[in-house]
Amino acid sequence: MRHEIWLAALSEELRRHGVGPDLAGHVVAEAAGHLRDSGEPPLRAFGPPDAYAAAVADSVGGPAVRAASGPVRLRAVDIVKRYGKRTVLSGVSLTVHAGQVAAVVGANGSGKSTFLRICAGLVGAASGRVEVHGTLGYCPQSGGTADFLRAEEHFALIGAGRGVSRQAAARAGARQAAALNWTPNDAHARHLSGGTRQKLNLVLAGLGDPDVLLLDEPYQGFDGGTYLDFWHEVWRWRDAGRSVVVVTHLLNQLDRVDVVLDLSASATGVAA
């Protein structure tokens, strides 16, 4: 692999791993200097760009955990949910401030998606209350798109609901899609792969810049690179002062979120 190509790939992978532009530029410059001085092929010197970027990201750590400083955007208090005689959630509470990322974790059937749907007001709760300060974007685990509509038509549809003009919605949708390494075309949603359909779902959730984003395992079907792009986008939303709640069962990103709500033990949890 030629030096320039390898260095460009490294730069892109560093961005995907959430390494800031200053540090990424420094790492790329150092790698370029080493390759120039040593004359070694980059793959022998550093290995594949994605692996080297992952090692760099691990060594510097992810974005710093943020203490609660901004105003409260989402507050769920003592949520109880029962299906028949089975109690799924028992007194679950979560508070997320502006500029924070919260992860809701737990085993299958622990009520993660139910909790998120209760926060969105899509299903009722036996007791408890939820306050949403501002507008809400929601990304379901599956569904949520229209089979016979194109991506741009989805943007127009959701955009109209949020009071965004068609052109602005198309621009915002294309921009967010590009951040997930996807270029929407004329294909109907039914012809998109599972991962691309989830990208569409994620883009729709973020259209119109909602204050609170509820994301229910939105990375289903994502490949490794897109998974990193997804977290990069989450951090970008956080940096823009939005509150993001992600339902996940993948624990390797938990050190990079600000709040963790664990529902795995007893369907009871408090996080703030």
Binding site: A125, E131, V132, G134, G143, G144, A146, F148, L149, A160
Partner: protein
């Protein structure tokens, strides 16, 4: 208004891309028409109007079912409940007019000695009522198969029951038989009046059912409070 029109536009785009369904929708009333054209011209008119209504209500059922998973997200995106169902109805009414027009032209040139104005009234009332029936069924019954069976039962009963009996009057397309009799058999204007009244009342009741069913399904849950920032 922009939101309602956007829903209508996207519903039309989605429906327009289901070409196989569109062809079947167009041909189904023709089958009803041709079935009795040879021996009973008047009956073929009544049947084609019923066929149109059935085709439209089926289309509305599938439109309603297909939108079911998307609508909660649309509500969260800022749409009001009435904008969702009115938008879909606008699209279905447009589709209904486009579907009915060729059949009106067919009857105009294929049939003599019938009241064409009254036939136009049947078709317009059918276009008004059938999408409401299909959306109401889709709102009340979450699965397509159940909805289809209900529509099949309604249309089957409509064809079997004696239109003069009281039981037939509670069926949604009774107006079609009543006005059809006025148009084909040149009966008194009372048939037309009763038919129009029945169609308008049916449309009103079904609109109420659609509004209430959509309102319940897509309601804001009381435990959630949205605070403007």
């Amino acid at each position: 208004m922009i939101r309602t029109l956007t829903i209508a536009e996207m519903t039309l785009r989605e429906t327009g891309r289901r070409r196989g369904v569109l062809v079947l929708l167009l041909l189904l009333p023709l089958a009803f028409y041709l079935a009795r054209r040879g021996d009973h011209l008047g009956q073929s008119i009544r049947f084609v109007c019923l066929g149109l209504s059935w085709a439209l209500s089926t289309a509305a059922l599938f439109v309603g079912s297909a939108a079911r998973s998307l609508e909660p997200r649309l509500r969260l995106s800022g749409y009001r409940t009435h904008q969702l169902f009115v938008g879909r109805l606008l699209a279905l009414w447009t589709l209904g007019v486009a579907l009915s027009l060729p059949y009106f032209v067919l009857i105009r040139f294929d049939q003599n000695d019938v009241r064409y104005g009254a036939i136009a009234v049947i078709m317009l009332l059918g276009v008004l009522v059938a999408p409401l029936l299909g959306l109401a069924v889709s709102a009340l019954l979450p699965r397509d198969l159940e909805g289809m069976l209900v529509l099949l039962t309604v249309v089957g009963l409509q064809m079997i029951l004696d239109p003069a009996g009281n039981a037939a009057r509670v069926l949604p397309f009774w107006f079609s038989r009543e006005i059809g009799t006025y148009a084909v058999d040149h009966t008194s204007v009372g048939y037309l009046d009763r038919g129009v009244l029945h169609g308008v009342i049916t449309a009103g009741l079904l609109l109420l059912v659609v509004a209430v069913a959509f309102g319940i399904r897509l309601r804001r849950r009381p435990h959630v409070r949205f605070v403007e920032v």
